[in-house]
Assembly symmetry: C2
Homo-oligomer: 133 residues x 2
């Protein structure tokens, strides 16, 4: 028993578990677009073209494939509203919403990270201008 207090160092098994958990999570959330898509639809249900406008850079082919994938895995539902013309709305399921904390932390980190990259870019271009003169 090397775990006398609850906040002692995590045991080896706990580490292995969290490693396995992360690997399992990434298995379904793999690729460039799944998390951005889920985030976009958790914020607001949208139609195909609206998504494509928001997530700049994704092609219709890839978007269609990713949406199918997300639906199969229970993250979103595709709803057809019989208006004229029909409106096809993709909306996040409750299961998607269990990712909220993950998305929040990832967004926070992404913001900080961009700042850090900007910093180092400034330094790089500074040393470049100095070196090239």
């Amino acid at each position: 028993m090397n775990n006398q207090l609850n906040n002692a160092l995590p045991s080896t098994e706990e580490c292995a578990h969290s490693l396995k958990n992360v690997i399992d999570a990434l298995y379904v959330l793999n690729g460039k677009w799944k998390l951005p898509l889920i985030l976009s639809l958790v914020q607001l249900a949208k139609r195909f073209n609206e998504i494509q406008n928001e997530i700049t850079g994704i092609s219709s082919k890839v978007l269609a494939k990713e949406l199918k994938d997300l639906e199969l895995n229970g993250f979103i539902t595709r709803k057809v509203y019989p208006t004229t013309p029909v409106a096809i709305i993709y909306e996040a399921t409750d299961y998607s919403k269990t990712l909220k904390n993950v998305l929040r932390e990832l967004s926070l980190w992404g913001g900080q990270h961009r700042e850090k990259v900007k910093q180092s870019m400034r330094l790089t271009s500074y040393s470049l201008t100095r070196d090239s003169k």
Copy 2:
């Protein structure tokens, strides 16, 4: 001003920001192995073969490439200890540690997700045995 209280609905720009943040984050954390590797090394600095034993499934080629990548991006450092024989230890930088919250949430979610998948597998195999009889 549609934001009378701090906890009002997030504005459109805020949504767009968080989307951009997540996309930027995934740009450096892409692939199957980066987050698992960072997690493993944040828990404890290790040598090459130790990592390969912990992250089962990764080949030495891919591991070498990912480690180089992570070093270039400032997530880990490669330290050579002049013992005999030399020990090469990969350790997480402080910058890696800024990912702690992301990793914790991802691990938590991964654990829940595995439970959910197990559940649905049980249901599927039940209906399969019923259908096939």
